[in-house]
Amino acid sequence: MDSALIPEGAKRCSLPKFSIGMAIVGAVLLWGVWAMFLCWFKGLNQTNMNDYYGFALWIWADLAVIAVGGGAFFTGMLRYIFNIKELKNIINFAVIIGFICYSSALLILAIDIGQPLRGWFIFWHANIHSMLTEVAFCLSCYFAVLTIEFIPNILENRQANKVPFFHHLAHNMHGIMVIFAATGAFLSFFHQGSLGGVAGVMYGRPFAVREGLLIWPWTFFLFTWSAAAYGPSFTLLVTKMTEVITGKKLVKDNVVHLLAKISGWMIVTYIIAKIIDTIYWAYVTAPSLGFKLSHFYTDNSFYGYWILITEIVICGIVPGAILVIKSTRENPTLRLVAIILGTIGVCLNRWVMVLQIMAVPVMPFDTWALYIPSWQEVATTVLPVAYGIMLIALAYRYLPVFPQEKELNSVKPITESE
């Protein structure tokens, strides 16, 4: 029915089958949208946040999607600025994932603020000394960059490309993409960093505070580094998931291996920096404020040392090692384990740097604060996932996302797919 829209030579499942899949995900999306409107019209009392625990589950989701969305800027930087040719086979998909992540992040921020109609104050009345201001500016600008990077791919749709203007526009945009990618890399560097700075500058919170360079605490650099390290892992993970669901091979192994290798080396270097940072914080920064490390990890039912070990060893050193060593990297199972662990690791890091901070008591006579998210918070956190699945499905069905798809799937007919 919609075969005229489907990329030439590509096999896609039937429209009814596709529609049923979309309807199921769409139902989840609507649930999230309903919760979103509840938060907007009834206020943040719909959540289980309180004055002790002022950041919700979705703020973690916000930081996490931005972190894993870092694959777009880093892959883009490698493709366009360092001119690594192989990556052109995955850059489209990396951009789409980035686009989903960043649009979700902006949406979450719009739900999170208590007075959404005043959201523009952050731009208009900007306090440039606040890390959050830098986040807002760079996030919005970088979202514009991702949109610009996504547009040519949309215009390459079979029907759209027949319009001469669109054809030329897509072609010309490819021509100067290096400029957009460079601007994107610049913006990304700062907003990823500023998100890390958000926690690092809170000198009233010994669990979060870090010393640093000039105005930037070390978390600034660690966040940028970790997004660049784990982002490509997430890109690979989503590619793998898409391959499993569609039952097709979409990207050649050499491309996957290259990106995995880059991600691996970035993870290894990051985790070394992270370990140094953790040790310095545990043995110098925190004790200078009167805190022992055990203060942050004991006397409560949830935040134990396990979280530190999981983040650094299981989800840091392990995936880093797997991806760096050639034999394990080229083993599909181990590689999958590594990219899953890596994605969990960076998400866990964001959880620690935004929510655990709220839980740790600072005044000596104060108590741990724990909270359980309400269904509205869960629904609005699931919302971006449903939205992401729908957008990827639509993009995969109608846009030439994977340049190698035709070549890889031309020999034998492939099973039906979504």
Partner: protein, 288 residues
């Protein structure tokens, strides 16, 4: 406010005698009614109800018969920030400049119509002095007529906190203008609601910069940075006076006074053996 006023600025502060405090809660009640704090339908969850002034209960952790109790009222600490330069934990992080540090008074403001409710300041404040309006403000019927016209009520979705009853400072300044001496607000003309309401006179309020004010005489603030930690300024030279979490360098303007060592020790975190070294260290000079 002229620039030269910057030089002989006020620095309003408070000292609370924890040995006099009985934990009666008068300060909390007077604060709420003075500052138009709204009610919640169900006030049983204290973690999302608004209490600009909150009384904490401290114990020495010993079992009967050695148990001792102290109460610690906690208003906004009006931090001067690291080095007392005005970069308070909350002010420096607010993305929309909805809160600023008044260099003329040392008071940290909160502008309700500017705040858009990102709650970053709440995360940055270690004292939990900032409160979010989770609900629309509501008062029992007819009670809106008793609201103070000098204090702006707050809307849902924004952050609020103790202002050291700033409207009383504004009124005192008007009075000083009328009497032709705008640069000298009398001690008795500007007192916060909690200070005047405390039945045991535990709270003393005034200008920390003015040696004639009682608060200055009790605290004897050291104008020089602490040689052991340059972020800390205004340490008390009175050995019985301490501030909450002084080592973080937030430089609060609320001081606490207690004869009891275990109470003073609860003001901050100390590693093993540190307290014994630190407890006798006060401002650089003993005469003040």
């Amino acid at each position: 406010m002229t620039q030269d006023n910057h030089n002989n600025a006020y620095k309003f502060g408070m000292v609370i005698d924890l040995d006099k405090c009985t934990g009666c809660g008068s300060c909390m009640v007077s604060c709420m009614s003075e500052n138009n704090v709204p009610f919640k339908e169900d006030e049983s969850n204290k973690r999302d109800s608004i209490t600009w002034m909150r009384v904490y209960k401290l114990t020495n952790g010993k079992s009967f018969p050695d148990t001792e109790i102290a109460y610690l009222p906690r208003p906004c600490q009006h931090c001067g920030g690291e080095g007392d330069h005005g970069h308070s934990p909350c002010v420096s992080v607010c993305p929309a400049t909805a809160t600023d540090y008044g260099y003329d008074t040392g008071i940290v403001s909160q502008i309700y119509t500017r705040c858009f409710g990102c709650r970053y300041c709440m995360g940055a404040c270690p004292y939990h002095a900032r409160y979010f309006n989770w609900w629309d403000p509501k008062w029992p019927e007819g009670m809106e007529k008793y609201l103070s016209p000098d204090v702006s009520p707050r809307m849902r979705g924004i952050v609020e906190k103790c202002s050291f009853c700033y409207h009383r400072y504004q009124a005192a300044r008007d009075k000083a203008y009328y009497h032709g001496d705008k640069d000298h607000i009398k001690e008795e003309d500007y007192q916060t609601a909690c200070t005047t309401a405390c039945p045991s006179n535990a709270i003393t309020f005034g200008d920390l910069n003015n040696p004639a004010h009682k608060v200055h005489q009790i605290v004897k603030p050291d104008p020089h940075p602490d040689p052991r930690n340059h972020h800390v300024v205004g340490k008390s030279r009175n050995p019985k006076v301490f501030r909450l979490l002084e080592r973080l360098g937030t430089n609060p303007k609320v001081y606490y006074l207690s004869e009891r060592e275990w109470v003073r020790k609860q003001g901050d975190h100390y590693l093993e053996g540190e307290w014994d070294k630190i407890k006798n260290h006060h401002g650089t000079t003993s005469h003040g």
